[in-house]
């Protein structure tokens, strides 16, 4: 997984209020929405979805 992108994501995540983390949908992978918390879990555990999430967030210029 792209370390730089992971670090960027974590820094952004760290700066979000907890309600935003749990309620705010930030990406959709194969028709499945992820909020910030779920995205963090996937990315932090280096899952295949985590990789896709990072790629999409980069493509959409969200991170």
């Amino acid at each position: 997984m792209d370390d730089e992108a992971k670090i960027k994501f974590k820094k952004i995540f760290a700066n979000l209020p907890s309600k935003i983390r749990q309620d705010d949908i930030i990406v959709v992978i194969e028709n499945k929405p992820y909020n910030w918390n779920a995205a963090y879990f996937e990315i932090n555990n280096n899952t295949p979805d985590g990789k896709k999430i990072l790629e999409k967030l980069l493509e959409m210029k969200i991170i």
Binding site: P17, K19, I20, D23
Partner: protein, 211 residues
């Protein structure tokens, strides 16, 4: 210039009925404080009548509610009451325009080098309404947006400076964003719409001017 307020309150769709209702709440405070005003309501919110009053009575504060774009603001449906050709009418005046986009051009062009001030928006002014409520007075959701917006007008009539009034409106929006984020079941979308209005609110002209 007279310590007098001109208000526009068109009422022909959801948006104008809500913002005009809320303007009415500010008018009640004006009544309480004995501040004279003239409100152009509903179909009376037309250019000719408003301009006639403006030239004759020279009110210092204009509280404008209505649809707008970057160059003009409407009164009643389809009737443009002010646009960028009306520059000379605004010398030394305080304007709060609860309207879309006026800050993009109208506000900036007229008030940048004017003795007066303009508070308005560079974005569309948006708000959620609760469709289960039959009247704005019962709609708690719309209140999250329109009460902070009223704070601007209320602050001006209290005699606070334009800058302070602009800041109070923004502070009230932040307070509501915080409140929503701390609520157990905060409805989706409400905070981002509030952010839109917060981020889009601008002040041009003399920040120290008072009513």
């Amino acid at each position: 210039m007279n310590k007098l307020i001109l208000i526009t309150r068109p009422d022909f769709d959801h948006t104008t009925s809500y913002i005009s209702y809320y303007a009415g709440l500010v008018m009640k405070k004006m009544d309480d404080q004995g501040i004279p005003y003239k409100s152009f309501d509903g179909k009376n919110a037309v250019r000719d009548e408003i301009h006639k009053f403006l030239l004759k009575k020279d009110p210092k504060f204009l509280f404008l509610n209505g649809h707008g774009n970057k160059d003009s603001i409407e009164g009643t449906k389809g009737n443009i009451i002010f646009d960028t050709t009306d520059k000379d009418l605004f010398k030394g005046k305080m304007v709060y325009a609860r309207s879309c986009l006026l800050g993009q051009n109208f506000g900036k062009e007229i008030f940048q080098h004017n003795d007066g001030c303009f508070i308005g928006y560079v974005n569309p002014f948006i708000f959620f309404i609760d469709d289960t409520q039959s009247h704005p007075s019962r709609d708690k959701i719309a209140g999250y947006y329109l009460e902070p917006s009223n704070e601007i007008a209320l602050s001006i009539i209290k005699g606070n400076s334009a800058q302070e009034s602009h800041d109070r409106g923004r502070k009230a929006m932040l307070k509501n964003m915080k409140k929503l984020l701390l609520e157990e079941n905060h409805p989706a979308g409400v905070v981002e719409a509030l952010w839109n209005n917060f981020d889009g609110q601008v002040l041009f002209g003399d920040g120290e001017i008072r009513f």
